[in-house]
């Protein structure tokens, strides 16, 4: 027989002003199973809590209902009090007679009756509460960082510096990402590589970081604290231990005319190559699609010249397995390429390039050694038109968002051009200028006012080629939408920042949600910006949304902080309000029939298949099993289960069912 204690709080006047608390306590006392019912001025005060503790001991209560404020306010307080008195905290419930009653109704019998209804409801619930123990999940204190751009690098270093192991996976032959391609960075115009490469080296040398370059995540299973990662290390066709990075092979390789990915197609590289001089690791890789040996079966020149005999033509991809406790996704972004702007002739005319290509032109380490020369004929362009919002903020192009970085880097590009070609005429077509950020607006102003960059507010309608010039047609909407044509030698399109090609596939591999543009979704747009909805998986950088470097770095450090916090304990303690699939004695074993409706409905992939086998090891039936590490306790599966085989602790069938009945059936406790 239940022995429930009801404790009615006045909350000073907050409750007692409109609710007759004495009546409530009296009525509660009459509810079957209530062994003790009192009211007090402030239940949350020390004496109030003491009252509860004493009652638990003296009346050896089996459950407690505190009729006071919202559980969102004081549930932890009272549950702690119960625990201190030796009552399982999950046998304590709160009846919200303040926010949901005394504060929202006038003083009246109806209000008091409602308070009584609420108490009766919670008494009915607590009678069916079960003593629950918090769930403990072990934590593997190794982090997996996917993506070796600035965000991934920052996250790796920050985590490694807290003394935890990091596995960094980069799909390209070298880490560095887009930042390593940049010439200068806004708003300071300091050289990108100068600030990045030291970080790259630090990653390579850090004792806590294991770098897998030229590798990709194959699969990720498990749950927070306990992931199992399989990493595909793509064959470099080279023994990394033997290779000393002398680069002889890359010089001798007969194939030389392959567009360099690093130089955004403006430069050339051999078939065996290091993407760029400061690459980390500084070890070449053979591009098998273009290597003569793989195509024709002969050559092997690199093998001959290699002083350490490191070349391995027969090398195969390798699968590396790793246990990790947390994952940071830092896969970055890409920019729109190809036949995306037929009206701009992008991809048709050599001298219409995108932002990254301009970065390479302006970069001292680029194909033109930092001189602005147009791709077609290497001439120094007299007139350059920069087009902002090329694709961004354009529903017709299916990209409705702002790419965020274009305003700033376009200003930077125009400046760099002017600094390098003093007599040059830079024009910028823009919609709006979005220079929110420390020293950003000032930077753009400088471009306009000191460097004399011509800003034209209007969109470009069409670009076509005429007698070796690029005719840019647009309108100046600040001068009465005057149509204008500019004869340009070079056009730079600030094409939209978009998610990487592989973004969707990866998201599905690791089970994180993503938006309609394939950017990864944060758990909460404001309050949980670096977490995903999948516990233990965090976000850093532009894979979540277009970002500039400082933002990406800040988020990376944030993610690292989250990982460190997770790793700061040996076990995760989680509220046990999770779903469980029932188990029965043989021959039934479980009422679950294994239709696995629950599995498709679970947002957390928390439902697994469990095979029940007889002694002879022969399969008897396959039933659902909830992984307590993954389940977040939404209960969607519970409502879907036809045979009512899944129940959820804290909101069980019995609890909510009895609540409904108790709420609506005013017994003799009625007034």
């Amino acid at each position: 027989m239940a022995r429930i204690g009801v404790f009615v709080c006045h909350c000073g006047e907050n409750i007692s002003a409109t609710v007759d608390v004495l009546k409530v306590a009296a009525a509660a006392a009459k509810i079957p199973g209530v062994a003790h019912s009192v009211e007090y001025k402030y239940m949350c005060s020390d004496p109030g809590q003491q009252m509860i503790k004493n009652a638990i001991k003296e009346k050896n209560l089996t459950g407690v209902v505190v009729a006071a404020c919202s559980p969102r306010m004081h549930e932890p307080t009272f549950r702690r009090a119960c625990a201190e008195a030796g009552l399982n905290p999950f046998l304590c419930e709160m009846a919200n007679i303040r926010e949901h009653c005394s504060w929202v109704h006038e003083k009246s019998d109806a209000t008091t009756n409602k308070a009584i209804d609420i108490v009766r409801t919670l008494v009915a619930k607590v009678k069916k509460n079960k003593a629950l123990l918090p769930i403990k999940v072990p934590v593997t204190k190794t982090a997996l960082v996917i993506g070796g751009g600035i965000a991934g690098i920052q996250a790796s270093l920050d985590i490694a510096n807290t003394g935890h192991k990091v596995i960094l996976v980069e799909k390209e032959p070298s880490i560095g990402g887009h930042m390593s391609q940049l010439s200068e960075t806004f708003p300071t115009l300091d050289c990108s590589q100068c600030i990045l490469t030291p970080r790259m080296v630090e990653v390579a040398q850090h004792p806590n970081i294991t770098l897998h370059s030229y590798s990709e995540l194959e699969s990720l299973d498990g749950f927070i604290g306990n992931f199992k990662a399989r990493i595909r290390k793509k064959a470099r066709s080279l023994d990394e231990k033997l290779c000393n990075g002398c680069g002889l092979c890359t010089l001798k390789c007969p194939v030389k005319k392959i567009p360099s990915e690093f130089d955004a197609g403006l430069g050339m590289r051999p078939a065996i190559y290091v993407p760029f001089p400061q690459a980390v690791p500084n070890k070449p890789v053979i591009d098998r699609q273009n290597c003569t040996y793989y195509l024709k079966g002969k050559c092997r020149l690199c093998e001959k010249v290699c002083p350490t005999q490191a070349i391995r033509f027969d090398q195969e991809d390798e699968i590396i397995e790793a246990d990790v406790g947390a994952v940071v996704l830092a896969t970055g972004f890409d920019i729109k390429h190809g036949d995306f702007f037929p009206e701009y002739g992008y991809g048709k005319f050599k001298d219409i390039i995108d932002g990254l290509q301009f970065e390479r032109l302006a970069s001292a380490s680029g194909p033109t050694l930092g001189e602005i020369r147009r791709p077609s004929d290497g001439k120094i362009p007299e007139t350059v038109v920069f087009v902002a919002c090329a694709g961004s903020r354009d529903p017709a192009k299916g990209i409705e968002y702002c790419s965020k970085i274009c305003c700033m880097y376009t200003a930077k590009h125009a400046m760099l051009y002017k600094h390098k070609v003093h007599h040059g005429r830079p024009y910028v077509f823009y919609m709006d200028i979005r220079a929110g950020g420390k020293m950003y607006e000032e930077f753009v102003r400088r471009a306009m006012e000191e460097d004399g960059v011509q800003y034209i507010r209007g969109r470009v309608s069409r670009i076509y080629e005429r007698e070796g010039k690029l005719i840019v047609k647009g309108a100046d909407t600040l001068l009465g939408a005057r149509p204008m044509e500019i004869e340009a030698d070079l056009v730079v399109l600030a094409t939209a920042s978009v998610a990487n090609d592989g973004a969707e596939a990866l998201a599905q591999k690791v089970h994180v949600s993503y938006d309609s543009y394939y950017f990864y979704s944060e758990a909460h747009p404001k309050l949980r910006p670096v977490e995903t909805n999948t516990a233990g998986i965090f976000l850093a950088g532009a894979c979540q949304a277009p970002k500039d470097i400082p933002e990406a770095v800040a988020q990376a450090s944030g993610a690292a902080g989250k990982v460190a916090a997770l790793f700061s304990q040996n076990e995760l303690i989680r509220e046990p309000l999770i779903a469980v699939v029932d188990r029965q004695a043989p021959p039934l074993y479980s009422t679950c029939v294994g239709c696995f409706l629950c599995q498709t409905s679970c947002p957390y992939q928390a439902i697994e298949k469990e095979e029940i086998r007889g002694r002879d090891g022969q399969l008897i039936k396959t039933v659902a099993k909830v992984n307590p590490g993954l389940c977040q306790g939404c209960g969607t599966c519970v409502a879907l289960c036809r045979s009512k085989s899944i129940d959820i602790q804290g909101f069980s069938h019995e609890q909510v069912y009895d609540e409904v009945l108790a709420l609506l059936n005013r017994g003799e406790s009625d007034v």
């Binding site: 037929p342 005319f349 791709p375 077609s376 004929d377 080629e465 005429r466």
Partner: protein, 300 residues
């Protein structure tokens, strides 16, 4: 599948060679194109500047008549008419109340069952077109789509608005070499043909200039208004540009007709202001141009 034919006013007047050539082509193809009984003006550019209801009612009446005559689709060669009819169908299918209102105005229940198709959709839909080609139209051509054939893209959902390809594909089919040029969808001056010939002269001039400079032997059009501006207004254009253009402007149906070996006068070519001949000089200049183009940096 019954395809009705809506000529519209121009094809009975200034642009009658468009209609003549279409009929000649349809004959060879053995396709019947019954005119919509008792059709009326689509309202052209005037109606929608005056009254929204009127601009919907006029096309709605035409389409309702087509539906009444059990037509599943209506071929509308004139781009302007095509545009008005399509927009009307779209708006009325979007908004039930509006549909009922307009149906009331035209005293007929417009249901929207008849699809509106343009000349290119129609020709592209003919499977055995190639088999009818006996004299391939082996010329370098600039396919000129104009404004109304592809816009508003959201409503017409025909080809890609900024760089349409469908006419080029069609011209390839009949043996022509469509050129990549810049003025495919630029405005020719349209309705200013009468009120502001200077504007027409300027805009149409730019179009012809680019076509010629890229070595086109003919400009192919699908709109009587474009044709009128580029052909009938040629003297004004030349005056304004201060140079001569001998490049002919041909309706797509005329090009197809020629490729089918139909006699020029059956196609109404004799009605053009600019004589339809593909001068050797054009060829040479064209050849020169293409060589130039090759050497032009950036050109793929």
């Amino acid at each position: 599948m019954k395809t009705g034919y809506y000529p519209g006013c121009s094809l009975k007047g200034a642009g009658r060679e468009y209609s003549e050539s279409l009929m000649a082509v349809a004959d060879i193809l053995g396709v019947k194109l019954p005119e919509i009984p008792d059709w009326n003006c689509c309202g052209a550019t005037a109606a929608h500047n005056v009254s929204h209801d009127l601009s919907l009612a006029l096309p709605a009446r035409i389409l309702a008549a087509a539906e009444k005559d059990d037509m599943d689709e209506v071929l509308v060669p004139c781009s302007a008419c095509y545009n008005r009819l399509s927009v009307t169908r779209h708006e009325l299918l979007q908004d039930e109340q509006l549909r009922q209102k307009i149906s009331g105005l035209i005293e007929a229940d417009y249901r929207g069952s008849a699809k509106v198709i343009n000349i290119i959709e129609w020709l592209a839909g003919i499977s055995d077109l190639e088999t009818k080609i006996i004299a391939p139209f082996a010329h370098r051509v600039a396919c000129y789509y104009g404004c109304l054939l592809v816009r508003p893209a959201g409503i017409l959902n025909f080809d890609r608005p900024e760089d349409p390809q469908s006419m080029d594909q069609l011209l390839k089919k009949i043996g022509a070499t469509p050129l990549d040029w810049a003025f495919k969808t630029e405005c020719c001056g349209a309705g200013f043909s009468v009120s502001r010939t200077d504007i027409v002269a300027k805009l149409s001039g730019l179009i012809l200039n680019d076509a010629v400079s890229r070595g086109a032997e003919a400009v192919i059009v699908a709109c009587p208004m474009c044709h009128l501006n580029l052909d009938l207004r040629r003297p004004n254009i030349e005056k304004h540009a201060g140079k001569k253009f001998d490049i002919p402007v041909i309706y797509i149906t005329q090009a197809v007709g020629l490729a089918m070996g139909i006699a020029p006068n059956k196609l109404g070519l004799q009605r053009h202001t600019v004589p339809v001949k593909f001068s050797a000089s054009a060829d040479r200049s064209a050849a020169r141009e293409t060589r130039a183009q090759k050497s032009v940096p950036g050109e793929k």
